[in-house]
Protein backbone atom coordinates (compact mmCIF):
# COMPACT_ATOMS: atom_id res chain seq x y z
CA UNK A 1 0.00 0.00 0.00
CA UNK A 2 1.41 3.35 -1.01
CA UNK A 3 -0.62 5.64 1.25
CA UNK A 4 1.39 6.62 4.34
CA UNK A 5 0.01 6.24 7.85
CA UNK A 6 -0.52 9.44 9.79
CA UNK A 7 0.33 9.50 13.49
CA UNK A 8 -1.01 12.44 15.49
CA UNK A 9 0.74 13.73 18.59
CA UNK A 10 -0.25 16.57 20.90
CA UNK A 11 1.69 19.74 21.46
CA UNK A 12 2.72 20.42 25.02
CA UNK A 13 2.47 18.41 28.20
CA UNK A 14 2.59 14.84 26.94
CA UNK A 15 5.01 15.30 24.06
CA UNK A 16 8.35 15.15 25.91
CA UNK A 17 7.38 11.97 27.69
CA UNK A 18 5.89 10.44 24.57
CA UNK A 19 8.95 10.76 22.33
CA UNK A 20 11.05 8.04 24.03
CA UNK A 21 8.09 5.65 24.05
CA UNK A 22 7.46 6.33 20.38
CA UNK A 23 11.10 5.77 19.64
CA UNK A 24 11.01 2.33 21.20
CA UNK A 25 8.00 1.56 19.03
CA UNK A 26 9.91 2.61 15.94
CA UNK A 27 8.21 5.98 15.47
CA UNK A 28 11.15 8.37 15.19
CA UNK A 29 10.61 11.86 13.82
CA UNK A 30 13.00 13.57 11.43
CA UNK A 31 15.42 16.07 12.93
CA UNK A 32 13.36 19.11 11.85
CA UNK A 33 10.77 18.03 14.41
CA UNK A 34 13.03 19.07 17.29
CA UNK A 35 13.90 22.40 15.71
CA UNK A 36 11.99 24.99 17.77
CA UNK A 37 11.98 27.44 14.86
CA UNK A 38 10.30 25.00 12.50
CA UNK A 39 6.66 25.92 11.92
CA UNK A 40 5.71 22.83 9.91
CA UNK A 41 2.76 20.78 11.05
CA UNK A 42 3.70 17.58 9.24
CA UNK A 43 6.94 15.71 9.76
CA UNK A 44 8.54 12.72 8.13
CA UNK A 45 9.81 9.85 10.24
CA UNK A 46 12.54 7.26 9.78
CA UNK A 47 9.81 5.00 8.43
CA UNK A 48 8.94 5.85 4.87
CA UNK A 49 5.27 4.94 5.22
CA UNK A 50 4.67 6.93 8.40
CA UNK A 51 4.39 10.65 9.01
CA UNK A 52 3.66 12.68 12.10
CA UNK A 53 1.34 15.59 12.63
CA UNK A 54 1.61 17.82 15.68
CA UNK A 55 -1.70 19.35 16.70
CA UNK A 56 -3.61 20.37 19.83
CA UNK A 57 -4.55 17.52 22.15
CA UNK A 58 -8.27 17.81 21.45
CA UNK A 59 -7.58 17.78 17.74
CA UNK A 60 -5.55 14.57 18.02
CA UNK A 61 -8.74 12.77 19.04
CA UNK A 62 -10.75 14.45 16.29
CA UNK A 63 -8.25 13.66 13.54
CA UNK A 64 -8.08 10.01 14.58
CA UNK A 65 -11.83 9.59 15.12
CA UNK A 66 -12.49 10.87 11.62
CA UNK A 67 -9.82 8.65 10.14
CA UNK A 68 -7.75 11.61 8.91
CA UNK A 69 -4.99 10.20 11.08
CA UNK A 70 -4.92 6.48 11.74
CA UNK A 71 -3.28 6.57 15.16
CA UNK A 72 -2.11 9.01 17.79
CA UNK A 73 -1.28 9.68 21.40
CA UNK A 74 -3.55 11.65 23.68
CA UNK A 75 -4.58 11.88 27.34
CA UNK A 76 -7.49 9.81 28.61
CA UNK A 77 -9.16 13.10 29.65
CA UNK A 78 -9.58 14.02 25.99
CA UNK A 79 -10.83 10.54 25.06
CA UNK A 80 -13.48 10.66 27.79
CA UNK A 81 -14.53 14.19 26.90
CA UNK A 82 -15.36 13.28 23.31
CA UNK A 83 -16.42 9.68 23.88
CA UNK A 84 -16.06 9.12 20.13
CA UNK A 85 -17.50 5.80 19.09
CA UNK A 86 -14.92 5.31 16.35
CA UNK A 87 -11.92 5.56 18.59
CA UNK A 88 -10.07 2.74 20.27
CA UNK A 89 -7.69 3.37 23.16
CA UNK A 90 -5.90 0.04 23.22
CA UNK A 91 -2.71 0.91 25.12
CA UNK A 92 -2.15 2.83 28.34
CA UNK A 93 1.33 4.26 27.83
CA UNK A 94 1.79 4.97 31.53
CA UNK A 95 3.07 8.50 30.87
CA UNK A 96 1.61 11.98 31.22
CA UNK A 97 0.00 11.15 34.56
CA UNK A 98 -2.22 13.71 36.22
CA UNK A 99 -5.82 13.91 37.40
CA UNK A 100 -8.92 15.77 36.44
CA UNK A 101 -10.35 17.44 39.51
CA UNK A 102 -13.06 19.71 40.75
CA UNK A 103 -11.64 22.73 42.58
CA UNK A 104 -13.11 25.75 44.32
CA UNK A 105 -12.08 28.57 46.66
CA UNK A 106 -12.12 27.64 50.34
CA UNK A 107 -15.30 29.57 51.10
CA UNK A 108 -17.41 27.68 48.55
CA UNK A 109 -19.54 24.95 50.21
CA UNK A 110 -19.12 21.27 49.30
CA UNK A 111 -20.84 20.16 46.12
CA UNK A 112 -24.02 18.18 46.67
CA UNK A 113 -24.90 20.02 49.87
CA UNK A 114 -28.48 20.55 48.79
CA UNK A 115 -27.52 22.11 45.48
CA UNK A 116 -29.28 20.95 42.33
CA UNK A 117 -27.66 23.39 39.98
CA UNK A 118 -24.22 24.88 39.74
CA UNK A 119 -21.95 26.74 37.41
CA UNK A 120 -18.58 25.31 36.50
CA UNK A 121 -15.79 26.69 34.31
CA UNK A 122 -13.98 23.97 32.39
CA UNK A 123 -12.30 22.83 29.23
CA UNK A 124 -14.27 19.57 29.56
CA UNK A 125 -17.98 20.43 29.46
CA UNK A 126 -19.22 16.95 28.48
CA UNK A 127 -17.20 15.08 31.06
CA UNK A 128 -18.10 17.60 33.73
CA UNK A 129 -21.81 17.50 32.94
CA UNK A 130 -21.84 13.69 33.01
CA UNK A 131 -19.97 13.57 36.33
CA UNK A 132 -22.33 16.04 37.99
CA UNK A 133 -25.36 14.22 36.56
CA UNK A 134 -24.24 11.12 38.40
CA UNK A 135 -24.28 13.18 41.61
CA UNK A 136 -27.80 14.33 40.78
CA UNK A 137 -26.69 17.86 39.99
CA UNK A 138 -27.37 19.80 36.84
CA UNK A 139 -24.12 21.55 35.98
CA UNK A 140 -24.06 24.59 33.79
CA UNK A 141 -20.64 24.50 32.13
CA UNK A 142 -18.80 27.55 30.91
CA UNK A 143 -16.34 26.39 28.31
CA UNK A 144 -12.91 27.95 28.62
CA UNK A 145 -9.81 27.03 26.69
CA UNK A 146 -7.28 27.77 29.40
CA UNK A 147 -6.56 29.65 32.62
CA UNK A 148 -9.59 28.17 34.36
CA UNK A 149 -7.99 29.04 37.70
CA UNK A 150 -8.87 32.71 37.47
CA UNK A 151 -12.57 32.09 36.83
CA UNK A 152 -13.64 31.87 40.50
CA UNK A 153 -11.80 35.02 41.53
CA UNK A 154 -13.44 36.99 38.74
CA UNK A 155 -16.91 35.63 39.49
CA UNK A 156 -17.31 33.75 36.21
CA UNK A 157 -18.01 30.48 37.98
CA UNK A 158 -17.38 29.46 41.58
CA UNK A 159 -16.05 26.03 40.68
CA UNK A 160 -13.68 24.77 38.03
CA UNK A 161 -12.84 21.37 36.60
CA UNK A 162 -9.26 21.16 35.39
CA UNK A 163 -6.17 18.98 35.14
CA UNK A 164 -4.08 18.85 38.29
CA UNK A 165 -0.61 17.37 38.57
CA UNK A 166 1.07 18.90 41.63
CA UNK A 167 -1.73 21.18 42.74
CA UNK A 168 0.56 24.18 42.82
CA UNK A 169 -1.30 26.25 40.26
CA UNK A 170 -4.51 25.70 42.20
CA UNK A 171 -2.91 26.73 45.49
CA UNK A 172 -1.35 29.83 43.95
CA UNK A 173 -4.81 30.91 42.80
CA UNK A 174 -6.39 30.26 46.17
CA UNK A 175 -8.23 27.11 45.12
CA UNK A 176 -8.71 23.80 46.92
CA UNK A 177 -8.94 20.47 45.18
CA UNK A 178 -12.32 19.01 46.15
CA UNK A 179 -12.96 15.82 44.17
CA UNK A 180 -10.95 13.76 41.75
CA UNK A 181 -13.12 13.13 38.69
CA UNK A 182 -10.70 10.82 36.95
CA UNK A 183 -7.07 9.75 36.86
CA UNK A 184 -5.48 10.68 33.56
CA UNK A 185 -2.68 9.06 31.60
CA UNK A 186 -1.67 9.12 27.95
CA UNK A 187 -3.06 6.45 25.63
CA UNK A 188 -2.32 5.18 22.20
CA UNK A 189 -5.48 5.72 20.16
CA UNK A 190 -6.37 4.25 16.78
CA UNK A 191 -9.18 4.67 14.32
CA UNK A 192 -11.64 1.77 14.34
CA UNK A 193 -11.93 1.30 10.58
CA UNK A 194 -8.18 1.71 10.06
CA UNK A 195 -7.44 -0.99 12.62
CA UNK A 196 -9.86 -3.33 10.88
CA UNK A 197 -8.66 -2.70 7.36
CA UNK A 198 -4.97 -1.83 7.52
CA UNK A 199 -2.61 -4.48 8.97
CA UNK A 200 0.04 -1.82 9.63
CA UNK A 201 -2.19 -0.24 12.28
CA UNK A 202 -2.51 -3.56 14.09
CA UNK A 203 1.27 -3.97 14.03
CA UNK A 204 1.72 -0.51 15.49
CA UNK A 205 -0.68 -1.39 18.33
CA UNK A 206 1.21 -4.63 18.99
CA UNK A 207 4.49 -2.77 19.23
CA UNK A 208 3.18 -0.19 21.70
CA UNK A 209 1.53 -2.96 23.68
CA UNK A 210 4.80 -4.83 23.95
CA UNK A 211 6.46 -1.70 25.33
CA UNK A 212 3.67 -0.93 27.78
CA UNK A 213 3.59 -4.44 29.20
CA UNK A 214 7.34 -5.09 29.06
CA UNK A 215 9.81 -4.18 31.80
CA UNK A 216 10.94 -0.57 31.94
CA UNK A 217 13.68 0.20 29.43
CA UNK A 218 13.53 -3.24 27.80
Amino acid sequence: MATPLTFAIPKGRILDEALPVMERAGVVPERAFHDKGNRSLTFATTREDLRLIRVRAFDVATFVAHGAAQAGIVGSDVIEEFDYSDLYAPVDLDIGHCRLSLAAPADVPEAGAGASHMRVATKYPNLTRRWFERQGIQAECVKLNGAMEIAPALGLARRIVDLVSTGRTLAENGLEERDVIMQVSARLIVNRAALKTDPRVGELVERFRAIASGPEGA
Binding site: P90, R187, A193, R209
Partner: protein
Protein backbone atom coordinates in the same frame (compact mmCIF):
# COMPACT_ATOMS: atom_id res chain seq x y z
CA UNK B 1 -26.99 34.87 -3.96
CA UNK B 2 -28.77 31.79 -2.67
CA UNK B 3 -31.76 32.42 -0.46
CA UNK B 4 -30.98 30.70 2.88
CA UNK B 5 -34.38 29.04 2.63
CA UNK B 6 -33.16 27.25 -0.48
CA UNK B 7 -30.40 25.55 1.45
CA UNK B 8 -31.11 22.10 2.75
CA UNK B 9 -31.21 21.26 6.45
CA UNK B 10 -28.03 19.92 7.98
CA UNK B 11 -27.24 16.36 7.03
CA UNK B 12 -29.44 16.26 3.94
CA UNK B 13 -28.31 16.62 0.36
CA UNK B 14 -29.31 16.50 -3.28
CA UNK B 15 -27.74 13.86 -5.43
CA UNK B 16 -27.00 15.47 -8.78
CA UNK B 17 -26.95 13.41 -12.01
CA UNK B 18 -23.44 11.94 -11.80
CA UNK B 19 -23.86 10.85 -8.21
CA UNK B 20 -27.47 9.77 -8.65
CA UNK B 21 -26.42 7.61 -11.61
CA UNK B 22 -23.66 6.02 -9.57
CA UNK B 23 -26.02 5.26 -6.71
CA UNK B 24 -28.67 3.86 -9.03
CA UNK B 25 -26.10 1.61 -10.67
CA UNK B 26 -24.82 0.47 -7.26
CA UNK B 27 -28.34 -0.25 -6.08
CA UNK B 28 -29.27 -2.11 -9.25
CA UNK B 29 -26.08 -4.20 -9.13
CA UNK B 30 -26.63 -5.19 -5.52
CA UNK B 31 -30.37 -5.88 -5.90
CA UNK B 32 -29.70 -8.09 -8.94
CA UNK B 33 -27.30 -10.18 -6.85
CA UNK B 34 -29.90 -10.55 -4.10
CA UNK B 35 -32.57 -11.48 -6.63
CA UNK B 36 -30.31 -14.07 -8.23
CA UNK B 37 -29.89 -15.75 -4.84
CA UNK B 38 -33.64 -16.06 -4.41
CA UNK B 39 -34.31 -13.04 -2.18
CA UNK B 40 -37.70 -11.47 -2.98
CA UNK B 41 -37.91 -7.72 -2.68
CA UNK B 42 -40.41 -6.09 -0.33
CA UNK B 43 -41.27 -2.40 -0.06
CA UNK B 44 -42.42 -1.36 3.39
CA UNK B 45 -43.71 2.19 3.93
CA UNK B 46 -41.63 5.18 5.02
CA UNK B 47 -43.71 5.82 8.11
CA UNK B 48 -45.05 3.36 10.68
CA UNK B 49 -46.34 3.27 14.21
CA UNK B 50 -43.42 3.99 16.49
CA UNK B 51 -44.20 0.98 18.64
CA UNK B 52 -43.99 -1.49 15.81
CA UNK B 53 -40.60 -0.13 14.74
CA UNK B 54 -39.26 0.02 18.27
CA UNK B 55 -40.55 -3.26 19.61
CA UNK B 56 -39.53 -5.62 16.87
CA UNK B 57 -35.89 -5.92 17.80
CA UNK B 58 -33.69 -5.37 20.81
CA UNK B 59 -31.73 -2.19 20.96
CA UNK B 60 -33.73 -0.08 18.47
CA UNK B 61 -33.64 3.50 19.72
CA UNK B 62 -36.87 5.42 19.08
CA UNK B 63 -35.19 8.61 20.25
CA UNK B 64 -33.15 8.59 17.07
CA UNK B 65 -36.28 8.63 14.91
CA UNK B 66 -38.36 11.52 13.62
CA UNK B 67 -41.65 11.06 15.48
CA UNK B 68 -45.00 12.77 15.34
CA UNK B 69 -48.67 12.19 16.13
CA UNK B 70 -50.86 10.62 13.46
CA UNK B 71 -53.93 12.87 13.03
CA UNK B 72 -55.95 9.82 11.98
CA UNK B 73 -55.18 7.31 14.73
CA UNK B 74 -53.76 9.78 17.30
CA UNK B 75 -50.91 7.35 17.84
CA UNK B 76 -47.22 8.17 17.52
CA UNK B 77 -45.73 7.59 14.11
CA UNK B 78 -42.08 7.37 13.27
CA UNK B 79 -40.04 7.64 10.09
CA UNK B 80 -37.99 4.54 9.66
CA UNK B 81 -34.37 4.78 10.72
CA UNK B 82 -33.66 1.17 9.79
CA UNK B 83 -35.61 -1.12 7.46
CA UNK B 84 -34.70 -4.37 9.22
CA UNK B 85 -37.46 -4.09 11.88
CA UNK B 86 -39.96 -3.47 9.07
CA UNK B 87 -38.90 -6.65 7.30
CA UNK B 88 -39.09 -8.41 10.64
CA UNK B 89 -42.65 -7.18 11.05
CA UNK B 90 -43.58 -8.39 7.58
CA UNK B 91 -42.08 -11.80 8.28
CA UNK B 92 -43.84 -12.04 11.64
CA UNK B 93 -47.26 -10.90 10.42
CA UNK B 94 -48.23 -10.80 6.75
CA UNK B 95 -45.81 -13.54 5.73
CA UNK B 96 -46.09 -15.55 8.95
CA UNK B 97 -47.56 -18.46 7.02
CA UNK B 98 -45.02 -18.36 4.19
CA UNK B 99 -42.69 -21.36 4.10
CA UNK B 100 -39.37 -21.03 5.92
CA UNK B 101 -36.61 -20.18 5.37
CA UNK B 102 -37.98 -16.93 3.98
CA UNK B 103 -35.64 -14.80 1.87
CA UNK B 104 -36.49 -11.10 1.60
CA UNK B 105 -34.57 -8.12 0.25
CA UNK B 106 -35.20 -4.38 0.42
CA UNK B 107 -33.76 -1.03 -0.53
CA UNK B 108 -34.87 2.42 0.52
CA UNK B 109 -34.08 5.65 2.30
CA UNK B 110 -33.82 5.78 6.07
CA UNK B 111 -33.53 8.89 8.26
CA UNK B 112 -32.43 9.70 11.78
CA UNK B 113 -33.34 12.81 13.70
CA UNK B 114 -29.76 13.47 14.76
CA UNK B 115 -26.59 12.63 12.95
CA UNK B 116 -23.93 10.67 14.73
CA UNK B 117 -20.74 12.33 15.95
CA UNK B 118 -18.62 11.63 12.92
CA UNK B 119 -21.02 11.42 10.01
CA UNK B 120 -23.23 14.47 9.52
CA UNK B 121 -25.72 12.78 7.18
CA UNK B 122 -29.21 12.14 8.48
CA UNK B 123 -30.50 10.30 5.44
CA UNK B 124 -28.98 7.17 4.02
CA UNK B 125 -29.78 4.62 1.36
CA UNK B 126 -30.09 1.24 3.01
CA UNK B 127 -30.11 -1.98 1.01
CA UNK B 128 -30.13 -5.44 2.44
CA UNK B 129 -31.44 -8.95 2.74
CA UNK B 130 -32.88 -11.02 5.58
CA UNK B 131 -32.95 -14.79 5.79
CA UNK B 132 -35.81 -15.47 8.19
CA UNK B 133 -36.14 -18.78 9.98
CA UNK B 134 -32.55 -19.69 10.61
CA UNK B 135 -29.49 -18.35 12.39
CA UNK B 136 -27.33 -21.45 12.05
CA UNK B 137 -23.90 -21.74 10.52
CA UNK B 138 -25.31 -22.57 7.08
CA UNK B 139 -27.53 -19.44 7.07
CA UNK B 140 -24.66 -17.29 8.31
CA UNK B 141 -22.40 -18.64 5.56
CA UNK B 142 -24.97 -17.82 2.89
CA UNK B 143 -25.58 -14.31 4.19
CA UNK B 144 -21.85 -13.57 4.37
CA UNK B 145 -21.31 -14.80 0.82
CA UNK B 146 -24.32 -12.92 -0.58
CA UNK B 147 -23.41 -9.72 1.26
CA UNK B 148 -19.88 -9.75 -0.14
CA UNK B 149 -21.14 -10.47 -3.64
CA UNK B 150 -23.72 -7.67 -3.42
CA UNK B 151 -21.17 -5.21 -2.11
CA UNK B 152 -18.79 -6.02 -4.95
CA UNK B 153 -21.65 -5.64 -7.45
CA UNK B 154 -22.38 -2.23 -5.95
CA UNK B 155 -18.92 -1.16 -7.05
CA UNK B 156 -16.97 -1.44 -3.79
CA UNK B 157 -13.27 -2.23 -4.09
CA UNK B 158 -10.74 -3.44 -1.55
CA UNK B 159 -13.43 -5.04 0.59
CA UNK B 160 -12.70 -6.39 4.05
CA UNK B 161 -15.00 -8.12 6.50
CA UNK B 162 -14.67 -8.14 10.27
CA UNK B 163 -16.45 -10.88 12.24
CA UNK B 164 -17.58 -10.43 15.80
CA UNK B 165 -19.34 -12.35 18.56
CA UNK B 166 -21.92 -9.89 19.93
CA UNK B 167 -23.18 -12.01 22.86
CA UNK B 168 -19.71 -13.18 23.86
CA UNK B 169 -19.57 -11.30 27.15
CA UNK B 170 -23.01 -12.54 28.23
CA UNK B 171 -22.11 -16.10 27.31
CA UNK B 172 -18.83 -16.03 29.20
CA UNK B 173 -20.23 -14.13 32.17
CA UNK B 174 -22.90 -16.78 32.67
CA UNK B 175 -20.45 -19.50 33.61
CA UNK B 176 -16.88 -19.51 32.38
CA UNK B 177 -15.84 -16.04 33.58
CA UNK B 178 -18.45 -14.99 36.12
CA UNK B 179 -18.68 -11.29 36.97
CA UNK B 180 -21.15 -9.40 39.17
CA UNK B 181 -24.17 -8.22 37.18
CA UNK B 182 -23.43 -4.57 37.94
CA UNK B 183 -19.97 -4.92 36.42
CA UNK B 184 -20.98 -6.34 33.05
CA UNK B 185 -21.77 -2.98 31.49
CA UNK B 186 -18.39 -1.49 32.52
CA UNK B 187 -16.58 -4.54 31.20
CA UNK B 188 -18.39 -4.32 27.88
CA UNK B 189 -17.53 -0.67 27.59
CA UNK B 190 -13.81 -1.18 28.22
CA UNK B 191 -13.70 -4.16 25.89
CA UNK B 192 -15.26 -1.90 23.32
CA UNK B 193 -12.57 0.73 23.87
CA UNK B 194 -9.93 -2.04 23.83
CA UNK B 195 -8.45 -0.49 26.95
CA UNK B 196 -6.65 -3.25 28.87
CA UNK B 197 -5.83 -1.02 31.85
CA UNK B 198 -9.40 0.15 32.40
CA UNK B 199 -10.69 -3.37 31.80
CA UNK B 200 -8.60 -4.68 34.70
CA UNK B 201 -9.79 -1.80 36.89
CA UNK B 202 -13.38 -2.65 36.02
CA UNK B 203 -12.83 -6.17 37.35
CA UNK B 204 -12.53 -7.83 33.98
CA UNK B 205 -9.08 -9.34 34.39
CA UNK B 206 -10.24 -12.64 32.91
CA UNK B 207 -11.45 -10.85 29.78
CA UNK B 208 -8.15 -9.15 28.98
CA UNK B 209 -6.87 -11.96 26.71
CA UNK B 210 -9.87 -11.34 24.44
CA UNK B 211 -8.36 -7.96 23.55
CA UNK B 212 -5.38 -9.75 22.08
CA UNK B 213 -7.55 -12.19 20.17
CA UNK B 214 -8.37 -9.67 17.45
CA UNK B 215 -6.82 -9.50 14.01
CA UNK B 216 -6.53 -11.72 10.96
CA UNK B 217 -9.20 -14.37 11.18
CA UNK B 218 -7.15 -17.56 11.25
CA UNK B 219 -4.84 -16.39 14.02
CA UNK B 220 -7.54 -14.66 16.01
CA UNK B 221 -9.97 -17.58 16.00
CA UNK B 222 -7.17 -19.88 17.13
CA UNK B 223 -6.54 -17.57 20.09
CA UNK B 224 -10.24 -17.48 20.99
CA UNK B 225 -10.33 -21.27 20.78
CA UNK B 226 -7.30 -21.48 23.06
CA UNK B 227 -9.11 -19.34 25.65
CA UNK B 228 -12.23 -21.45 25.53
CA UNK B 229 -11.27 -24.01 28.16
CA UNK B 230 -14.74 -25.05 29.20
CA UNK B 231 -15.92 -25.41 25.61
CA UNK B 232 -18.87 -22.99 26.00
CA UNK B 233 -17.88 -21.30 22.76
CA UNK B 234 -17.26 -24.45 20.77
CA UNK B 235 -20.31 -24.24 18.50
CA UNK B 236 -19.79 -20.52 17.96
CA UNK B 237 -16.18 -21.00 16.94
CA UNK B 238 -17.15 -23.77 14.52
CA UNK B 239 -19.85 -21.52 13.06
CA UNK B 240 -17.41 -18.65 12.57
CA UNK B 241 -14.94 -20.95 10.86
CA UNK B 242 -17.60 -22.12 8.42
CA UNK B 243 -18.62 -18.52 7.71
CA UNK B 244 -14.98 -17.61 7.05
CA UNK B 245 -14.78 -20.38 4.47
CA UNK B 246 -17.41 -18.51 2.44
CA UNK B 247 -15.28 -15.37 2.22
CA UNK B 248 -13.81 -15.28 -1.30
CA UNK B 249 -10.12 -14.80 -2.03
CA UNK B 250 -9.19 -11.13 -2.28
CA UNK B 251 -11.42 -10.11 0.63
CA UNK B 252 -9.56 -9.53 3.89
CA UNK B 253 -11.20 -11.37 6.77
CA UNK B 254 -10.57 -10.37 10.37
CA UNK B 255 -12.09 -11.26 13.73
CA UNK B 256 -12.69 -8.96 16.65
CA UNK B 257 -14.55 -11.06 19.21
CA UNK B 258 -15.52 -8.15 21.47
CA UNK B 259 -16.66 -5.56 18.94
CA UNK B 260 -20.18 -4.40 19.74
CA UNK B 261 -20.32 -1.16 17.82
CA UNK B 262 -23.52 -1.16 15.78
CA UNK B 263 -24.58 -4.62 16.94
CA UNK B 264 -27.54 -3.56 19.00
CA UNK B 265 -29.78 -6.45 18.08
CA UNK B 266 -27.41 -9.20 16.97
CA UNK B 267 -27.08 -12.46 18.89
CA UNK B 268 -24.19 -14.90 18.41
CA UNK B 269 -22.74 -13.67 15.14
CA UNK B 270 -22.13 -10.28 13.55
CA UNK B 271 -19.98 -8.76 10.86
CA UNK B 272 -18.95 -5.34 9.59
CA UNK B 273 -18.02 -4.55 5.99
CA UNK B 274 -15.37 -2.06 4.95
CA UNK B 275 -14.24 -0.87 1.53
CA UNK B 276 -11.26 1.14 0.39
CA UNK B 277 -12.01 4.85 0.14
CA UNK B 278 -15.11 4.71 2.33
CA UNK B 279 -14.92 6.42 5.69
CA UNK B 280 -16.11 4.02 8.36
CA UNK B 281 -18.09 0.91 7.56
CA UNK B 282 -20.22 0.35 4.46
CA UNK B 283 -22.47 -2.32 5.92
CA UNK B 284 -23.07 -4.82 8.67
CA UNK B 285 -25.05 -7.91 9.44
CA UNK B 286 -25.52 -10.84 11.73
CA UNK B 287 -27.96 -13.10 13.51
CA UNK B 288 -30.87 -11.81 15.60
CA UNK B 289 -34.29 -12.60 16.97
CA UNK B 290 -37.51 -11.09 15.64
CA UNK B 291 -39.55 -10.07 18.68
CA UNK B 292 -43.23 -10.99 18.70
CA UNK B 293 -42.78 -14.17 16.72
CA UNK B 294 -39.50 -14.95 18.53
CA UNK B 295 -38.15 -16.21 15.25
CA UNK B 296 -34.45 -16.54 14.49
CA UNK B 297 -33.06 -14.72 11.47
CA UNK B 298 -29.82 -13.73 9.76
CA UNK B 299 -29.37 -10.71 7.55
CA UNK B 300 -27.26 -7.77 6.46
CA UNK B 301 -27.57 -4.15 5.37
CA UNK B 302 -25.38 -2.06 3.10
CA UNK B 303 -25.25 1.72 3.20
CA UNK B 304 -24.57 2.68 -0.37
CA UNK B 305 -23.96 6.40 0.15
CA UNK B 306 -20.87 5.42 2.15
CA UNK B 307 -19.23 4.06 -0.99
CA UNK B 308 -16.70 6.44 -2.49
CA UNK B 309 -17.45 8.19 -5.76
CA UNK B 310 -16.08 6.47 -8.84
CA UNK B 311 -12.80 7.72 -10.28
CA UNK B 312 -13.04 11.10 -11.94
CA UNK B 313 -11.15 9.64 -14.89
CA UNK B 314 -14.17 7.59 -15.90
CA UNK B 315 -15.27 8.35 -19.48
CA UNK B 316 -18.53 10.30 -19.78
CA UNK B 317 -21.48 8.32 -21.10
CA UNK B 318 -22.20 8.36 -24.81
CA UNK B 319 -25.43 9.99 -25.97
CA UNK B 320 -26.99 10.50 -29.38
CA UNK B 321 -28.36 13.89 -30.40
CA UNK B 322 -31.60 13.71 -32.42
CA UNK B 323 -32.03 16.83 -34.61
CA UNK B 324 -35.46 18.31 -35.35
CA UNK B 325 -37.40 16.23 -37.86
CA UNK B 326 -35.36 13.07 -37.31
CA UNK B 327 -36.74 9.64 -38.16
CA UNK B 328 -38.49 8.51 -34.97
CA UNK B 329 -38.42 4.84 -35.90
CA UNK B 330 -34.67 4.91 -36.47
CA UNK B 331 -34.27 6.61 -33.08
CA UNK B 332 -36.43 3.98 -31.38
CA UNK B 333 -34.38 1.22 -32.99
CA UNK B 334 -31.13 2.78 -31.82
CA UNK B 335 -32.51 3.10 -28.28
CA UNK B 336 -33.48 -0.57 -28.42
CA UNK B 337 -29.86 -1.53 -29.07
CA UNK B 338 -28.65 0.56 -26.16
CA UNK B 339 -28.25 4.16 -27.36
CA UNK B 340 -29.20 6.97 -25.06
CA UNK B 341 -30.86 9.78 -27.06
CA UNK B 342 -31.41 13.49 -26.50
CA UNK B 343 -34.00 15.03 -28.85
CA UNK B 344 -33.76 18.63 -30.05
CA UNK B 345 -36.67 20.88 -29.14
CA UNK B 346 -35.67 23.87 -31.27
CA UNK B 347 -33.32 24.79 -34.13
CA UNK B 348 -29.74 25.59 -33.34
CA UNK B 349 -29.25 23.51 -30.20
CA UNK B 350 -25.65 22.50 -29.57
CA UNK B 351 -25.32 18.70 -29.38
CA UNK B 352 -21.98 18.92 -27.57
CA UNK B 353 -23.25 21.34 -24.93
CA UNK B 354 -26.15 19.01 -24.21
CA UNK B 355 -23.66 16.24 -23.44
CA UNK B 356 -24.00 14.29 -26.69
CA UNK B 357 -21.11 12.35 -28.18
CA UNK B 358 -22.93 11.53 -31.42
CA UNK B 359 -25.47 13.06 -33.76
CA UNK B 360 -28.08 11.28 -35.85
CA UNK B 361 -27.67 11.97 -39.56
CA UNK B 362 -30.17 10.05 -41.66
CA UNK B 363 -30.00 6.63 -40.07
CA UNK B 364 -26.37 6.90 -39.00
CA UNK B 365 -24.91 7.89 -35.63
CA UNK B 366 -22.00 10.22 -36.43
CA UNK B 367 -19.47 11.28 -33.81
CA UNK B 368 -19.72 14.97 -32.90
CA UNK B 369 -16.50 16.97 -33.34
CA UNK B 370 -15.13 18.10 -30.02
Amino acid sequence: MTDPDDLLPEGLQDRLPAEAARMTAAMRGALDVLDSHGYDRVRPPLVEFEQSLAGRMDGVRPRRMFRFVDPASLRTLALRSDMTPQVGRIAATRLAAAPRPLRLSYAGEVVTISADQLDPSRQRLQLGAELVGSDGAEAVGEVVAVALEALAAAGARGISIDFTMPDLVDTLAAEALPVPADRIEAIRRELDMKDAGALREAGGEGYVPLLYAAGDFDEAIARVAALDEGGVLESRIAGLRRAAERVPAGVRCTLDPTERHGFEYQSWFGFTLYAVGARGSVGRGGTYCIRGSEERATGFSLYLDALPAADAGEAPREALFLPLGHDREVAARLRAIGWRTVAALAEGEDARALGCSHRLEGSEAVAVEA
